[in-house]
Amino acid sequence: MDFGFSLSPSSAVNLDRTDMSLYEMLCDREPTARTCIGCGSCSATCTASAISGMSVRKVLLGIQRGQYREVEKMLSHCMLCGKCTMVCPRGVNTRHLILELCRLYGNSEGEL
């Protein structure tokens, strides 16, 4: 029956129940991921952010919170242009981080 509205799925994040394995695997392959301070320089310069809301800062937060669907959407339009790498004050190798994450996705046990 169509009431003209529907329930949207809950977007609550339960930090006690999130699975950090994807983040840990990512950090093994790209250790600089751990040094992110979430300053958002990458988000400000991103070429793809206008299209998919891409932001490396949010991607890193998202995989630690189990927001896999949102992260996948963000990753889907990255063009690997490397601006985020150049502006990062902590020297996070963002391009490698993104590529490795794209490879790891689906290997993780988290719900995707």
């Binding site: 070429t47 990753l75 690997l80 242009c81 190798n93 590529l99 794209c102 490879r103």
Partner: protein, 603 residues
Amino acid sequence: MRERFASGFDPFVIPFLIGMAFVLGYCLFGMLRIWFQLPRKDRRKVVLSLITPKGIWKNVKDIFANCLLHVKLWKRNPVLGYMHSSIAFGWFMLIVLGHIEVWLFLPERLRLFYYPIFFNFFVAESESTIQGAVIFFLMDFFLLVVLSGIVLAMIKRVRSRIFGMRRTTNPSFLDRIGLYALWSIFPLRLLCESFTAHISGGSFLTLPMNWIFRQFLGNSMNALPTWWAYSIALGVFMCVLPFTRYMHIPAEMMLIPLRNAGLHILHPRKGFARLQFFSCPGCGVCIDACPMSAKKENIKDCTVYLNRQLRRGNEERIEQISDKCLLCGKCTAVCQVGVQGPEMRIAQRMLRRYAVNQHYTDIDPTKFVPEGGSSAKVLYFAGCMTHLTPAIGRSVRSVLDKAGVGFKMMDPDGGLCCGRPMMMAGRREQTRELIRINTDIIRASGCNTLLLSCPICYRIFKEKYSLEGIRVVHHSVYFDELIKQGRLKISGKTLRKLAYHDPCELGRGCGIYEQPRSAVSAVGTLVEAEKNREESICCGGSLGSLSLSYEKRKDITLASLRNLTVADPDTIVTACPLCQTTYGNYSEIPVKDIAQLIDDASK
């Protein structure tokens, strides 16, 4: 000349025959394997290139110049060139002259494969020898040439600096066996021919040695064991050849025609790439050339070691080496056989499978089509890197205004990426999509010139986009033209010393060296870096490397800066926003883009 043995055979030739049969069989099998790994289209290309007289002439010329005379090595370092060409050309001439001897004196023995090699053992001098004196002389002469090369090769093992090489490769175990076998072949040949010189005749080298030996060796019992040793040395060399770096000798002869046919690497292990890594002589010239070797830990990531690992099939190391490389292309520029290190690595990256695949199908190109009248025929695409260095973009626009060029921006508020970084990451599908969208935008803008201020963009627009009717031009070239045409007036020519850095993608990538230099000279005094043009050193900021982190690039940048500042310039000039940013982080003197320089000096 008459025969000493009616059978024309002696058991000592057997090791040589085994080696020869093995190496010929191996090479034939390998050639067929590579041939059938090539796509049908490529095979057609090769066949077509081989049936034209021009194609055949070019192949013969290249094989002769590169495989025998080593012309490229001579240009690099004369001693190194002499060492290689003396061994290769000298050995070749010994084989050719051996055949001529047999053909002259005992033509019916030409069908025996080993006869020309061991000719002096099987024959005895007769009255007709005088005709052969010239050949005997030449045989001794070329043997001496080869021996001089071998002596140099031994010196090189100990002191490679004399040959202009700071670092060289560590030979593997089998490489060493091949090396020692090769070294022993020619001294043994000299001994053999000396022992039999009083029977079969000789010349200025072998006859005196024969005389000396006879002073203290009463009998000729030494001759046969020495011929055995010579044959065994040849046999060992040929049996290990396929597993050593000496495989480059046969492989390069096949590589040259295939390269001349214009083939590209499509798979890192098959076909053309396979031929390339077998053609690698392991000389290690790429080690000194590689910008990464500024740090000792990166030496094992140079192209010569990639080739070695590809031959060994060491997957883990292949992946690491492929990811680390900056793809600056310098190893290819200095390589004697033309192994395409960056292309091999990109091909390796192409093999990867990703769980998340980027797609751009939902991007609407019409949203990016620049507004403004169709009168402006120049479309300026700043690209990602110029957006990050807005001063360069501002200078480009200012120069265009000063010269009165009507233009419009393709990406005033940030556009899409050109696709080159995706391509370098080996993601062909994504690159193709970006190219399609950008092409639509450019076509819809109605321009006839596409101006770019980033060499990374410039290279892919030049190589992969099909933009017939639209001129793709880099800003350094365009501004040089504006100055030469007098449309742009330079007012402030200074006496400042300007060192120009060739960005990898613009120089080695697209072959543009002169126009930027001409533009820089119009503004100030141009000084050169120690290594420039084809051998310029990557700034270290390249997008080609996937795994090198920011900190690990520091030493590369510092080494590159040292190279740039040998002439003590006042300013470093480059034509790439990425190089400018990278140098800017560490340089003590100002680093400017060519656009900023021209903007400052013009009115």
